[in-house]
């Protein structure tokens, strides 16, 4: 299904996909779930299953979301895949009526026909994150010192769990927040092992290395140094190869040496 075939409802800011007839255990084109131009979940879209028409999903599963761009690659547009087993914890976001699942396995989940899918952004949660980034512009950051911004960010990340990763990635990508605030966030993410998984932290820091702002890239490199995770080596190598600021490139190499020596 092409993107142009989708109806767009400006008022409710949703993309409404017409119902599709599929049989039990039948294949569903991935392009139906994700559209042709929205494969990257960082772009902010989620696919929601209408529970009324799905009889055998877990009771809480009214929201199906693709979670990781790497996982998504094989399911690109034009490919067909069975409706995935949706097996993941219910995020704290569920308290607000949204439960997130991601397709980790390809086992077929029996689904009756007539699924209506609505892609929607969880704007309320995202606004909470955006607000603290906005507020933090006024704040003065000192290395190694606790501050209000990271305290609030920590609380939100704890509350929204795995969703935070995608929300933060979206905010980082759209360049609407101050680079200084992001630099501080990157440093914090590197140390936030109590509230974020290493995978999520690595994902965000990797994105930070691609920022157009040297300050943010430096923060990301520092975050990776704090994480001290050798899995970051390929990302750093790529970042060093494309880094234009000589001093920053040297600092990144220092981090790379540290990680290689682990």
């Amino acid at each position: 299904m092409s993107r142009s075939a989708l109806a767009w409802n400006e008022e409710i800011d949703r993309e409404v996909v017409p119902p599709l007839n599929i049989g039990v255990g039948s294949a569903l084109p991935a392009s139906f779930l994700f559209g042709t131009s929205k494969i990257d979940p960082v772009a902010g879209w989620t696919a929601r299953l209408n529970l009324d028409s799905v009889s055998t999903l877990p009771p809480a599963a009214h929201h199906l979301e693709a979670r990781d761009s790497d996982e998504l690659k094989p399911y690109g547009p034009g490919n067909a895949t069975s409706v995935q087993t949706i097996a993941e914890s219910i995020s704290p976001g569920f308290q607000e009526g949204i439960a997130h699942y991601f397709p980790v396995q390809m086992a077929t989940w029996p689904i009756t026909n007539q699924i209506a899918i609505v892609r929607t952004k969880d704007r309320t949660t995202e606004m909470r994150f955006r607000n603290i980034f906005q507020k933090a512009i006024e704040e003065f950051f000192e290395d190694g010192m606790d501050n209000e911004f990271t305290a609030e960010l920590g609380s939100l990340v704890q509350k929204y769990g795995p969703d935070s990763k995608y929300i933060l990635a979206r905010i980082l990508k759209d360049n609407t927040s101050s680079p200084s605030v992001w630099a501080e966030a990157m440093r914090w993410i590197g140390r936030a092992d109590e509230v974020m998984s290493s995978g999520s932290r690595l994902f965000l820091l990797k994105e930070g290395l691609k920022s157009q702002f040297a300050e943010v890239r430096d923060g990301a490199a520092l975050g990776l140094a704090s994480m001290d995770d050798p899995f970051a080596v390929p990302y750093l190598e790529r970042a060093i190869a494309s880094e234009r600021v000589e001093e920053l490139r040297k600092d990144m190499k220092q981090v790379l040496d540290q990680l290689r020596s682990r």
Partner: protein, 195 residues
């Protein structure tokens, strides 16, 4: 000649200026590192041979809430003199009493114009900002504590804890990662069974 040390964020002092910053000018964010209070700015004297550099860095790192990389700039002690900025010996406020009494200075009676002139002069006449990594800072703190240079009652709990535990070993990291994977799998399985 001895140099003066000031804490900075290294990325703000990269020598490559953004295109909108013309020759003779500097990025505005540099000013964010020259913090003043009551028209004074805190700096530290570093000997010619940098023999006291690590001790001063250790003292400053010990004032923090957590152990992170340490960025700083060294600039010539003559810069404040040339700009007519007075330098006064005052006590520092770190857990290292010896460092506080011997190497702390205040640049006093600073006006906004003088501060900008200082920032420009430091930017143009100093070596690039330097960085000690988190692990190097940790090693310095450990050494400082072993040599009894720090008043531990004034060192934050988070710092002391990290000094005691040290960085996580690779095995410990793998253990933590396995635990994360196990927890996520268990939750997924439970949901699957429930449904």
């Amino acid at each position: 000649m001895p140099q003066l040390l000031v804490k900075v964020r290294k990325a703000r002092w990269y020598k490559s200026r953004p295109p909108f910053v013309l020759r003779g000018d500097i990025p505005a964010d540099c000013l964010g590192d020259l913090n003043t209070s009551s028209q004074c700015m805190s700096v530290w004297v570093i000997n010619d041979d940098e023999g006291n550099l690590k001790r001063v860095l250790c003292a400053l790192a010990a004032t923090r809430d957590s152990i992170v990389a340490f960025d700083f700039l060294l600039f010539d002690q003559s810069i404040p003199d040339i700009l007519g900025i007075s330098v006064k010996q005052t006590d520092g406020a770190t857990p290292d009493i010896h460092a506080n009494q011997n190497w702390h200075r205040d640049l006093v009676d600073l006006s906004a114009r003088k501060l900008v002139e200082l920032a420009i002069s430091v930017f143009e006449n100093s070596e690039p900002a330097r960085r000690y990594s988190e692990n190097e800072v940790l090693t310095m703190l450990k050494a400082g504590i072993q040599r009894n240079e720090l008043d531990l009652a004034r060192v934050k709990e988070g710092v002391l804890k990290k000094v005691e535990s040290g960085p996580l070993s690779r095995v410990a990291k793998l253990q933590r990662m396995s635990k994360e994977i196990w927890t996520a799998s268990k939750i997924a399985w439970d949901k699957f069974v429930q449904s």
